[in-house]
Subunit: 210 residues, 2 copies
DNA sequence: CAATAATTGTGAACTTAGTCACAATTATTA
DNA sequence: TAATAATTGTGACTAAGTTCACAATTATTG
């Protein structure tokens, strides 16, 4: 293990995959697992898994494999899901509502604690247990609650403005669904759905010619 | 330009970004653009753009830049959005509905022509202009319509079964929202939203220690 | 308890992706 | 028309990421 290293992004994404896979194994009652088995479930090489984990320490037992429960706990700490994250959603439209209704996020320790929208006709309505608040109430809300992550689910043209507001409030990270590059120093994860469609179209177009 | 090459995935994704950026420039009435300008809008290096484009040909004019309208057309052909793609959605839940209601997909040439669900209480209801059909009707539907792309928006445990069904119907590509690795030979694009949250959590956790 | 089998952790080798730097080209200016 | 400025396209280089291959370790078997 090398200390204090910058961890490559692909490694980070795979850690999430390993975590998910290990939880399935745990639910299946499996106690020990070899990198080879995780690899075959995820369709990658076992050496990749071992190398990825080696950035953070030695978690396995030679000749045996990894203790599932133990490795889950280690990954929780590494990824940062050993604690709950407070999340707000900006934009109570299609995507915003889908996220609020999605139980998977809470299960993974991402707690949606507020939904905000600029459209006064939506304010006061409920999505699940949450009441949509007007965006002007965000500032007040941020004083009373620790918000760590914000989701941008507003139209493209509002995204940059919202980002700057969020930056002022001291939000620590953004998940952005708007198809636009945000100018900010906060860490941003882009979820670019139409880009995925286009990438797929490209691949399909090349299927024959390979 | 090198013929017949395998195009790296990151290049393909960026093509989509360039395409989007160029359309914005076009709407702004800009006729010619330099790689440097696109680069600064997207926060990447200009050499990256030129190298990416060079996989497919020479589209610029030295000393001048790229003709916006022309490059858009070239990218349309390269990516494959010079034609319309027929898309169906499997699973008329949160994500499925969000996609059907999203005008951006149609604008990018992805036409949703059908929505299917296993829940009979949803069948017959409308999302936008589309009526939710029962999944058992899919086979018949596929005989009457050319379906190129399917979106998997069903719960994790149904995703693999659905995939196998889609494979039988000869669908050419899948956009998968379920958090599970699909075993199939069809090209798949994964949209893994909780993974994005976890990646963000990791990054936030490291912000201080860098 | 020695031999065998399984499996990790990790440097080294390899492969893929990104950047640099500059000749070639085009347009503009004097 | 010669000099200047801007910008492309790309080969050479550098960096990042993946896979290999094997010593080290652990458990199991005869
Ligand atoms: N729906 C999809 O499937 C989909 C797919 C890909 C990308 N996206 C992107 O995700 C974003 C949201 O899409 P959607 O379909 O949910 O849109 P939507 O129109 O359903 O919802 C957007 C919401 O944001 C609100 N809003 C607008 N400006 C605001 C502001 N300044 N502050 C707070 N709220 C504001 C609107 O009132 C609306 O309720 C868009 O950028 C879209 O391009 C959506
Ligand atoms: N909603 C989100 O924000 C979100 C975020 C990340 C991932 N996802 C994933 O996307 C998928 C869909 O999520 P959702 O929130 O839309 O779920 P949902 O429960 O709202 O919708 C799923 C729909 O699929 C239908 N369905 C179940 N089995 C089916 C089958 N065999 N054939 C056809 N239809 C079937 C259900 O009747 C339901 O209508 C899930 O795998 C989920 O994990 C969703």
């Amino acid at each position: 293990m090398k200390e204090d290293q910058k961890i490559p992004n692909p490694v980070v994404r795979r850690l999430g995959l390993y975590y998910r896979c290990l939880n399935k194994l745990y639910d299946e009652g499996i106690e020990y697992v070899a990198s080879k088995d995780i690899a075959s479930r995820l369709g990658i090489k076992s050496s990749q898994i071992r190398k990825d984990l080696s950035y953070f320490g030695e978690f396995g037992k030679r000749g045996v494999g990894y203790n599932v429960e133990n490795l889950i706990k280690k990954l929780e700490t590494i990824i940062g899901v050993d604690k709950n994250w407070n999340v707000i959603i900006i934009g109570a439209g299609n995507i915003g509502s889908a996220l609020v209704n999605y139980p998977g996020l809470k299960k993974e320790k991402f707690n949606i604690i507020g939904v905000f929208d600029a459209d006064r006709s939506k304010v006061g309505k409920k999505i699940g247990k949450l009441t949509i608040q007007h965006i002007s109430q965000l500032h007040e809300f941020a004083k009373k609650n620790i918000i760590e992550i914000a989701v941008i689910a507003v139209p493209e043209n509002a995204a940059q403005m919202v980002t700057e507001e969020l930056e002022k409030l001291g939000i620590k990270g953004i998940v952005n669904f708007a198809p636009v590059k945000l100018r900010t120093n906060i860490p941003v994860e882009e979820v670019d759905i139409t880009l995925s469609f286009k990438t797929l179209a490209f691949k399909i177009g090349r299927e024959g010619s390979r």
